[in-house]
């Protein structure tokens, strides 16, 4: 009985993609999902704070005054495209194609850099030209903390993926580097999920209310 279960498990694992083939890799990917669940809760608290404080503008600029749909759509579409190219990099990983994996991951971080550039420009415009820095009102504190936390995550993701690209270049696709590349992909898609809610709950809601 025990024997049968064991051999079934082993058979399963050998059929799996490379990143799941070791017990350690399998468990670490599970652990990463738990980390992402905790990140969801972190962003949940920031969304809760922002939504309550949204109307507390202290006589300063409101969401409607500040937000412009053009740059926001550009950021949204670029991050969405980067999530797509990141998905393509996972496919190349499954094909054990090192060049394809590195190529699509590079495109992903380039799009990530463009996104960060647009977001930094947006923050700069608000804080310097529109008289709406973080300290102006509770609304702006909530806004900059929520979007800043997301932007910091994207920036960290770019640095992390560059590190993984260096390892992939050096060591090739092994069970360890495959696991790291797969986890970085999960992280990147997760950041796009958070942005979908920022787009909806912050920008679109700000334009409607």
């Amino acid at each position: 009985m025990t024997n049968a279960t064991l051999s079934l498990h082993e058979k399963d694992q050998s059929k799996m993609p490379l990143e799941y083939t070791t017990e350690e890799g399998d468990l670490r990917i599970f652990g990463f999902w738990i980390f992402l669940a905790a990140e969801l809760v972190l962003f949940g608290t920031l969304f809760g704070t922002y939504l309550v404080l949204q109307s507390h503008t202290a006589g300063g600029p409101t969401a409607k005054d500040l937000f412009e749909i053009g740059p926001v759509m550009a950021e949204t579409i670029i991050l969405l495209m980067s999530s797509f190219t990141c998905g393509l990099s996972t496919i190349e990983l499954r094909r054990h194609n090192k060049k394809g994996l590195i190529g699509w991951m590079s495109v992903t971080i380039l799009l990530g850099l463009v996104f960060i550039g647009l977001e930094a420009n947006e923050f700069y415009t608000y804080a310097v030209h529109e008289g709406a820095p973080l300290s102006r009102s509770a609304f702006l504190s909530g806004f900059f903390v929520l979007l800043g936390t997301h932007g910091a995550h994207v920036s960290l993701g770019i640095v992390w993926i560059i590190g993984i690209l260096l390892q992939l270049g050096k060591r090739g696709i092994t069970p360890v580097t495959a696991r790291k590349a797969f986890m970085a992909g999960l992280y990147w898609h997760f950041l796009d999920v958070v942005w979908i809610f920022i787009f909806t709950a912050v920008y679109l809601t700000g334009l409607v209310i």
């Binding site: 669940a37 969801l40 898609h189």
Partner: protein, 105 residues
């Protein structure tokens, strides 16, 4: 690469990346649909908010299932339970905060 491995990698990633392309097109369509509903239509505010939040949740699930392979792994039910619990706590925090502090909105 031995024959076995070759077969495996072919099975894993052969052909056109349909899942990713469908995920991208659906996400783009949902994004523009939400924009149009919010800016183009002038529905009552609660109706608009309900629809766009619903579209966002749908798009998040597209990412989760088409891009993030949440159903993969040796025992995917464990990570599904973990992520569902995270979603539950996040919604409880956001919903609960808005409910309790509704007077302050």
């Amino acid at each position: 690469m031995d024959e076995n491995q070759k077969q495996m990698s072919e099975r894993m990633g052969a052909g056109f990346p349909w899942k990713q392309v469908i995920g991208l097109l659906l996400s783009l369509a949902l994004t523009f649909l939400a924009l149009w509903i919010a800016v183009g239509l002038s529905l009552p505010v609660p109706v608009t908010l309900t629809i766009i939040v619903g579209l966002a949740i749908f798009q998040a699930f597209i990412q989760l299932f088409l891009f993030m392979h949440v159903t993969e792994g040796t025992e995917p039910v464990h990570q599904l339970i973990g992520i569902l619990f995270g979603i539950y706590v996040a919604f409880a925090i956001v919903g609960g905060t808005l409910w309790i502090l509704a007077y302050a909105l």
